[in-house]
Symmetry: C2
Subunit: 202 residues, 2 copies
Amino acid sequence: MTVPRLVLATRNPHKIDELRRILDGAGLAVHLVGVDVFPHVHDVVETGTTFAENALLKAHAVAAATGLPAVADDSGLCVDVLGGAPGVFSARWSGRHGDDKANLDLLLAQLADVPDDRRGAHFACAAALALPGGVERVVEGRLTGCLARAPRGEHGFGYDPVFVPEGDVRTTAEMAPPEKDAISHRGRAFRALAPLVGELAG
Amino acid sequence: MTVPRLVLATRNPHKIDELRRILDGAGLAVHLVGVDVFPHVHDVVETGTTFAENALLKAHAVAAATGLPAVADDSGLCVDVLGGAPGVFSARWSGRHGDDKANLDLLLAQLADVPDDRRGAHFACAAALALPGGVERVVEGRLTGCLARAPRGEHGFGYDPVFVPEGDVRTTAEMAPPEKDAISHRGRAFRALAPLVGELAG
């Protein structure tokens, strides 16, 4: 019996690790491959203005280019006093795509004068599945909390070092990966997507 | 007869020029002085999360410290796909307060992938009057438009070089100052405030 293959439509090694852990944990009998093994697949420009729009854009592009079911996520940090920004711009907040430190330093500088009781934020993730024929599903997950004034912790990536989930005092970068997965926006979104993957692409 | 004095609660020379033009144009018989002539008045930290809140914060601080009626504005650029950000953070968007070029360059870089039909934005201004006794008024003005991809024009300041008002093809930095005043968020807000200044502080 051939185990069905599913493409993870991301080149971010941190995200690939996280998605593998989460989807493996959901007990899916699929073989996960990163989009990196398909050198002819080009990155799509994330022109969407919502997480769901970008996640679907990426999943459809990879499904069409590989002929395999593809899952993608788009996720980011939504800061209350910024009206939900950085949002879909989280990974390019400093203008330098994927420069976690520059993005995080910029956000802290922008919010330097914002008092502690107004530093509410949430992480959001849209997880999308697309089949080569055009079938699609998208679900969302969220983790609410607030922003610290300086980075703490060595785990995670992105804005993890400054994000303190509601009901905790640690940042998500101070949590072990499985502990973070259990509550994270990405964990929630992909656990919600897993049964749909099993049903449509398993 | 002594002409009543009114303090403009800003140290930004561009704003002082603009406010003088607008309030003078409204025919107010008041003597406008910049807060710079009161060396003992310290800047307040703009901890507000709305333009009105920050404008009132500044006007009250200056009125209390000088014993004179004070007007202040807080204004900024609200970008649709950023959920209204930079908003109250417009002048410190790059983390460097008042560095117009850094702020504008950062915004253009953040929005590099945003297509032309999603680059809607508006300028907003809250204009506040505060009397030493605590009386306050605040009004708002707005100018809607969209964002260009590169700066154009030599007039104005802040984000003027990339802001194209609805119904025009020029940026507000390509308009002569009186032409900009006639339509601008700050012009509208201060023209609405002028009769209240005349009534309460004239």
